[in-house]
Symmetry: C2
Subunit: 478 residues, 2 copies
């Protein structure tokens, strides 16, 4: 493809994208295709000769859009939001054109340096303590990971390396194989599944600790569990505090947990994947009180801050535990400036990395902090609107306190009727929700996901849910 064709193609795609996003609420939110739908729509092999770009354009609706779940439709209320904005799309174009691999500073100085500075901008926007920021002049700083799962794993591996080092200093006769089976980490039993998975991947025990009745992990429970484990010869090394659980957006008691971790010298990682974006609004920072006691902090601008996936922001006070633990240093990756700027390849699981800081730069500048705050506040207000509508119908109950852009609710009564309600809602295909379950109580989650969502959309979603409830309850009366 030559430059001329590229220009035509990219401009046609620009028009298509604007048309797609501006009219996204008119599309069926979840497609009605069955598994295997796509294979018969395309040839069995790649073509031998080049096709024209217009042929590809023509296939987008037929092959792709017919099977897309439209995450950015105001009718989409499943999971948590994933970000999508015009500035981020354009930034990714530039990233694709530069297409450098920023594994070391010299491999593209701009790629590393813009990331260092953007993570400082972002950290200041959240009110993170200076001890997390590169501008503090120490080793601390931020890095863009692909996902929160990777951040949790990276922090776990850092904590593991630090603990191995410290335990060996006390017990020089112990080898890794004597220590690793004794290591134990902790998280709220409501923590994201990726925390459990990080334990599996890292080959260490990760205990789920029961939260209080508001689903918050509390300091006392954590302390008791840790002390019991120590008595049994285990070595506590890692705690994950969740700010905004996936099931119900509960916030662990960070300050209490922080005190326990500092007292016991245990690495504290804070996973605020979804809710972290809200801390750009000062009125929500009470939910991260105690953050200065953490060793690492992570949230996903690619969820709720309009920076397209993948952009998971992580800050580390002592990156050295990651950098040193997994440092393999072949000659072809060495350079003369080593040590005077971060070589991000040591801060992450993969070696390669895209120029992702451009997305942050574009979004922060083209929205400005105030508009990003407006975006967060609007989503939270829409969640409260839904809460109000749902609460006013006495057949329903709100299952957990609404703090952010998520409403957990259910029909009063047993789980079966709620399972039926959700089947009914998703079966009609007008809106899309996923359920969750805590302590065997099944409930529905309505997340505000789209940056196009308006009050009228919430009314439509509520009407749809109300109608489905009418049907379900009518059937049950028969």
């Amino acid at each position: 493809m030559e430059a001329g064709d590229f220009k035509d193609f990219a401009k046609a795609m620009t028009e298509y994208i604007a048309e797609y996003l501006e009219n996204i609420r008119d599309r069926q939110v979840v497609p009605s295709v069955k598994p295997g739908y796509l294979r018969p729509l395309v040839p069995e092999q790649a073509p031998q000769q080049a096709e024209h770009w217009t042929a590809v354009m023509q296939d987008i609706e037929r092959v792709v859009m017919s099977g897309v779940t439209h995450w950015h439709s105001p009718r989409f209320h499943a999971y948590f939001p994933t970000a999508n904005s015009y500035p981020a799309i354009v930034a990714d174009m530039l990233s694709g054109a530069i297409a450098c691999i920023g594994f070391t500073w010299i491999a593209s100085p701009a790629c590393t340096e813009l990331e260092v500075v953007m993570l400082d901008w972002l950290g200041q926007m959240l009110g993170l303590p200076e001890s997390f920021l590169a501008r503090s002049g120490g080793e601390a700083g931020g890095v863009i990971q692909g996902t929160a799962s990777e951040a949790t794993l990276v922090a776990l591996l850092g904590a593991k390396a630090k603990t191995l080092f410290e335990v060996k200093a006390k017990h020089p006769e112990w080898a890794d194989k004597d220590i690793i089976p004794k290591l134990v980490g902790y998280c709220n039993s409501q923590a994201h599944s990726s925390v459990e998975r990080a334990g599996l991947l890292g080959g260490v025990l990760l205990r789920k600790v029961n939260p209080d009745s508001s689903r918050r992990l509390r300091g006392d429970t954590l302390r008791e569990t840790i002390e019991e484990d120590v008595k049994n010869g285990l070595i506590p090394f890692y705690v994950v505090a969740t700010l905004g659980t996936t099931s119900s957006c509960a916030f662990d008691a960070l300050e209490e947990i922080g005190d326990v971790c500092r007292e016991k010298d245990i690495w504290l990682h804070v996973d605020a994947a979804y809710a972290g974006s809200a801390f750009i609004c000062p009125e929500y920072r009470y939910l991260m009180k105690g953050i200065e006691k953490a060793d690492s902090f992570n949230f996903n601008p690619h969820k709720w801050m309009l920076v397209n996936f993948d952009c998971s922001a992580m800050w580390l006070k002592q990156p050295r535990w990651i950098v040193d633990a997994f440092n393999v240093d072949p000659l072809y990756l060495k350079h003369d400036q080593q040590g005077s700027a971060p070589d991000y390849r040591h801060w992450q699981i993969p070696l390669g990395r895209r120029f992702r800081a451009l997305k942050l730069w574009f979004v922060l500048r083209l929205y400005g902090v105030e508009n990003l705050q407006k975006h967060i506040r609007k989503h939270i207000a829409l969640a409260h609107l839904y809460e109000k509508l749902c609460s006013a119908d006495e057949r329903f109950e709100i299952y957990e306190e609404v703090t952010m852009g998520l409403v957990c609710f259910r029909l009063k009564g047993n789980n079966e009727i709620n399972e039926e309600l959700l089947r009914n809602i998703n079966g009609r295909g007008k809106i899309h929700l996923v359920p969750s379950k805590i302590d065997d109580v099944y409930f529905l989650r309505l997340a505000i996901c789209s940056r196009f969502s308006e009050e009228s959309d919430i009314h439509i979603s509520w009407e749809e849910i109300r109608e489905c409830a009418d049907e379900v309850l009518k059937n049950h009366k028969k």
Copy 2:
């Protein structure tokens, strides 16, 4: 940012990108900035109010391009190539607009299904055995990972899970902690640093085995090492064969290694990160003879097949070992169609994933197999051209056989003079190379990286290197 501004911005960026890439050879390949250059060029904080997109456009040259290493310049010969093409850039625009997170089938059926079919297309293009492909109807199939490092780690974790299962079946009284310290994996001592790192991350021993004089890992050496380890009570569980090492693009003796692995029932992973793209040309498939004996295979279309990063293609014969080992299954990720299509979240380290199959689809259709083959053959021909030029100068020697788009060469003589030559070349800033070292012999690597490279560019690079050699040798005669 509204749709109107987006259209203007995206179209201006399209023009900028075409201009940047079409004239890239005129830019200084590595910038002359020093660490810390960027921070003074931007404000200390993010702006409170939105800026106009033209302000961002104006800053791109000043802030970003002044510190970019131009990987797509024909003057760039470092590392290995990373891909960049117009069709992939446009595909990523669409991916950014759809911005679905394809962790399960239902989360966006098109995202999963296009990936399944594209990996089948690609597998056929390489001549992979049907036993790796989804179209064979079994559990086998391909997946897009972020990087080869992740593929190596995923395969290692699968091998570990499989071995733990099998060892426990024989020794039900053994626990993980009895088995894991005995596990041992193997790779060529010339394997990529990420293989060693996968061992560190996965918490298992990974032994580097010495290759033969052509830097190829051979079956006999591997067999001897394994048998010695078994005698010492270790449990061999994983072998990585490299097709195209980073230092010198050597190819392990895959068929011999495959025989050993099948005889000993050890998971064989093939890392063809760079060279794998060449297998779309039938004349190079002799280098992957024995591939049917492998359990997993990986190469990076994002290196040499014009699909922008990240797109690392991996095939697994038995994904179940990955899927089952790290399967955490919360209610909010369950869906009714589980089991009838892959849920790719189980095949990878992160949970989230972008719609990356679009890049493959666009590139394969808009180039066609023949043009992609031409691209590979042209790069290899250019490497041979450089080899010819360099060989004709009796002051130089070619250090390893040239098979792909990489030429390893050095001045006859000691390492110091070659280190000086490289410092001289990179110091002048006209072209960019990185060195490597094998058995204490230091040499320079010239990789053909850019899709814009022409014969005239190779002559320019050679002239530059020849002039630098003149200078270095003149100084030494003084």
